[in-house]
Symmetry: C2
């Protein structure tokens, strides 16, 4: 066992285990890449550890099970989405358009689109992944959005808005049905913003 | 080779090959069940043939490749959806609510929900399935809906409406986020119908 070749090695060196935050970040980055590329099913703790250049035991040490690594990895993907409350918090005027623009900002950027697609793919095919999405991410996110809404049943309203955005993502980026797949995002925003505005602000 | 045991046999009898429409229907029913239960990836022509009690060659004879069996199987699933043009064709007044009710009629019925979920699952995880959905089903369906709409860019409008319905299905039936997963469908229809009405009728 030497200190060289910190990546793609079977066992961690003491040095790696000691550099906690760096190793943890490396594991998360590897997990995000593995889940994006391979999907939930084909990703393993062992594969994540290998890609991160650490021992699988270190992955378990930091995160526990595969589900928990998945939760942590997709929380990173959703971090931009956690800014949504700020979008909503600016006040009711124009919130529909701000939310639509925010959404397309994430989806039109390939770097953030890939992990979002991975999350949708995993959630659709694996109940474990769907549960993680439901429990850790959507609930927290939508609860934070709902807090700022002055409408009856704010969580229901926030979910209706989110469901429209998710459906557009499905048709535009996953199934790629024309013309929705190619139309300029401004055209979509012009149509969708009033819908979100109504859901989020009108009693 | 005997005439007994028409199901779960490796090779087809002459009788089976001759009873064309019955065998074809049985293959389609088997394909629909296999794709629903196993997903696109794990379903094989061989498995479909076995479930239908025919020789795989007969599946190829009637449908060609696995993709083509998939297309035929999901076209059956979408048959109710092909009534949508009638929903739209009744005229602009109340079309948003009629479309929302039609959609929930499909999704709230477990018999029609299962194949729809299978289609979404397959399309999300396999480009081949997404292409089939895009090419054979959504394009034909949405083109037929669009024909009856008196708005600018009718196909774009039909897709926006469809995307909202698909997104609600994703959040309510796939990820099952509360409260949207449990709320009475009438509450959703009351909120969504005006959105669909606007997309499908307002210039």
């Amino acid at each position: 066992m030497t200190d060289a070749a910190p990546r793609r090695r079977g066992r961690p060196s003491r040095t790696e285990a000691e550099q906690g935050p760096a190793a943890r970040d490396r594991i998360l980055a590897a997990a995000r890449a593995e889940f994006s590329e391979r999907g939930y099913d084909k990703t393993s703790v062992r594969g994540i550890a290998k890609a991160a250049g650490v021992d699988p035991a270190l992955v378990h040490h930091y995160f526990g099970s595969k589900d928990e690594v998945f939760a942590a990895a997709i929380e990173i993907s959703f971090e931009p989405a956690l800014i949504v409350p700020a979008v909503v918090g600016e006040g009711p005027e124009g919130v529909g358009e701000r939310l639509a623009r925010f959404f397309f900002g994430i989806w039109e950027n390939p770097a953030t689109r890939a992990p979002m697609l991975a999350v949708i793919r995993s959630a659709v095919t694996h109940e474990a992944a769907a549960k993680v999405l439901r429990t850790f991410v959507l609930r927290r996110l939508l609860e934070r959005v709902a807090v700022d809404l002055d409408v009856p049943e704010p969580k229901f309203r926030a979910e209706l808005a989110a469901s429209h955005m998710i459906g557009i993502a499905f048709v535009r980026y996953v199934v790629k049905v024309e013309p929705l797949a190619s139309v300029d995002k401004e055209e979509i925003i012009a149509m969708v913003a009033p819908t979100l505005q109504r859901y989020l602000t009108e009693a």
